[in-house]
């Protein structure tokens, strides 16, 4: 039972990361109808930024979150402005898909060249403190990260729901032409959206750095999990992405507890395919 509870807590925690990544991916998809295949690499860049800020400037990982978010927003906005917006005009889904795939390869290998493939970690004064919650034990950084994740999620909901920019983002994602008609500059919204998506991935990376190793390939599995989250939660639905992220985290830890860690990914992928196909069949039946 204790192991089960512990697995649940770990699942919730890792699920929080999937949620955060998934929500970023989801905003991007909702607005531009493209899958951002370099989302995992954005997480990786966020992790390396945190690592650099910590090792070379001595900034605490949690304090570096705003800095990382700002840098990632800038990077995302730059990519959107120089590469994605011009390509959106060609209306070629294949090209947009491989544009982001290409960016992913580029960032991964740039990280490989700059930081070498070595695994890197950050240690802080509070890294080794553990917290006991009833029968469950967890490291303090994990707990803080989880709380931070929840705060960011709530802030994101609030941003999309109540701020003017948030409303514009939702407007463009619901009806791009209608949004243009009422005077929303959709190109600017694209830039903000992509920047925001990247910033969310970067923040997830910053929060992850404290208890996860940093290496150039770290993003790929997270990136694909974020895609699973988006698909299971429903394209364009932020709440759905949040729930699906938590579900995926729990599925992962519980399946590695029940069927064994080597079959963990197999279980996740098969579940994903089944959900995808079954849902499509249901949708087709309803027509």
């Amino acid at each position: 039972m204790e192991i089960f509870l512990q697995a649940c807590v770990n699942g919730l925690l890792i699920g929080g990361f999937y949620s955060l990544m998934g929500m970023g991916q989801n905003i991007i998809f909702g607005v531009m109808k493209i899958i951002n295949f370099c989302h995992g690499e954005m997480l990786m860049i966020g992790m390396y930024l945190t690592f650099v800020f910590n090792t070379f400037f001595g900034i605490d990982p949690y304090l570096s979150i705003p800095l990382v978010a700002l840098c990632m927003f800038g990077l995302g906005a730059l990519i959107q402005h120089t590469l994605i917006t011009p390509s959106l005009g060609t209306k070629s889904f294949t090209n947009l898909l491989f544009l982001t795939v290409g960016l992913g390869i580029l960032f991964q290998n740039l990280a490989l060249v700059i930081f070498s493939p070595n695994y890197r970690t950050i240690t802080t004064s509070y890294s080794s403190i553990t917290v006991h919650l009833g029968p469950v034990t967890m490291a303090l950084p994990k707990l803080i990260s989880f709380i931070a994740l929840i705060i960011i999620t709530i802030a994101l909901f609030w941003f999309l729901k109540y701020t003017s920019t948030g409303k514009k983002i939702r407007a463009v994602s619901q009806n791009p032409i209608g949004a243009e008609v009422v005077g929303i500059n959709s190109k600017r919204i694209y830039i903000i959206t992509y920047g925001l998506g990247c910033a969310l991935a970067g923040v997830a990376g910053a929060l992850l750095t404290l208890f996860y190793m940093v290496y150039p390939m770290v993003g790929s599995s997270f990136g694909f999990k974020a895609l699973i989250v988006v698909v299971v939660g429903g394209f364009g639905s932020i709440q759905g992405a949040f729930c699906a992220g938590i579900f995926l985290g729990l599925l992962e830890t519980l399946s590695s507890l029940i069927v064994g860690p080597t079959y963990r990914d197999l279980t996740v992928f098969v579940t994903f395919i089944v959900i995808l196909v079954v849902r499509q069949i249901i949708i087709l039946r309803r027509r």
Partner: protein, 338 residues
């Protein structure tokens, strides 16, 4: 040759010259195994890319799991050879049939999904197969399978020098190219392109999208399985990493860079990308690992950003082609109709 214009004849002569050149290359390079290896690499990567292009470029179904079919083909063939002691050629044929069957049956429901959903399910499918093989005791788990070494023999698909592999690879790429050309001009090819442009229209004029997409996938997976078997026999060693999604991407890039709308696109893209990448890996690989992949990515980004139709698409609209056509191949106005 009756009915053929000057232009067509000259074009065919150019093709024949290229073919003779390719056939003659081993005469000059047989002492340089590294360069021979680059050619073989170009052959099988471009063939894979053509296989992808049938489904991706022609039918518009972007698969990112083609490495899994290739890996599966390699595994099935290697298992037949190592565990059942089967003749490698027969194993190759069986592997092609089995993988085609698996692709058709397992993937049938996945074609209900469209656009991004389809792409995602192909990734998940590829990963599933990889995870399955990693956990499969009989196939050597994560260690993979080594094929037996031994005396050189054509029947055993085992050669000391790279020259026979070169010719087999060349036969493979030429064969698949001709097949693609035939498909592209056939009713089947036109049906696939109709599906790419608009599935509802295709359905309305009597093309069953599901059926044609599955056919395209089966052919594509079969070619991939053939390449996979070739890869296994050539390298004499395979492991589950062969199915990594990064390889799927590497098989797509030649098609995108060369021009996915053209049958020749993957060939042009493959030749350019592999040559550049191998050159960089050779020159800078020791000091800057990953530099060749950075180049891959940069070429891809530049092509998509500035020449979204690919290099061949760009060429076919450029003055260079007009020059080649009119001055060298003596194309006349009458040929434009054909």
């Amino acid at each position: 040759m009756k009915g053929l214009s000057q232009y067509t004849i000259r074009k065919r002569i150019a093709m024949a010259l290229l073919m003779i050149l390719l056939l003659a290359i081993p005469l000059f390079l047989s002492g340089k195994p590294y360069l021979m290896n680059v050619f073989i690499l170009i052959f099988y990567t471009s063939t894979m890319s053509m296989a992808w292009n049938l489904l991706g470029g022609m039918t518009g179904q972007n698969s990112l799991g083609h490495a899994a079919y290739m890996g599966l083909g390699a595994y099935v063939a290697s298992l037949f050879v190592t565990k059942a002691g089967m003749n490698p050629w027969l194993a190759m044929v069986l592997s092609v049939v089995i993988v085609g069957g698996i692709a058709g049956v397992v993937f049938y429901p996945c074609f209900l999904l469209k656009g991004p959903y389809f792409t995602l399910v192909t990734i998940a499918f590829g990963e599933t197969i990889r995870q399955f093989v990693i956990n499969w005791d009989f196939a050597g788990k994560a260690t993979g399978i080594s094929l037996p070494f031994g005396a050189q023999s054509f029947a055993e698909f085992r050669f000391m020098s790279k020259v026979p592999y070169y010719y087999i690879g060349l036969a493979m790429i030429v064969g698949v190219y001709i097949l693609m050309k035939i498909i592209s001009r056939s009713k089947f090819g036109f049906a696939l392109r109709t599906i790419r442009e608009d599935e509802d229209v295709a359905a309305a004029i009597g093309i069953k999208p599901m059926r044609y997409k599955v056919y395209a996938l089966i052919v594509s997976a079969m070619i991939a399985a053939m390449v996979g078997s070739f890869y296994a026999y050539y390298n004499r060693y395979i492991d589950p990493d062969l199915m990594l999604q990064t390889y799927s991407v590497e098989f797509v890039l030649p098609a995108i860079v060369g021009g996915a709308a053209f049958v020749e696109g993957p060939l042009v893209g493959g030749a350019i990308l592999i040559t550049l990448s191998e050159f960089l890996r050779n020159e800078f690989g020791a000091i800057l690992p990953g530099i060749n992949l950075i180049l891959y990515a940069v070429v891809l980004l530049v092509v998509i950003r500035f020449r979204p139709v690919g290099l061949l698409g760009w060429y076919s609209q450029s003055k260079a082609k007009a020059f080649v056509d009119t001055k060298i191949l003596k194309k006349t106005d009458a040929d434009k109709e054909a």
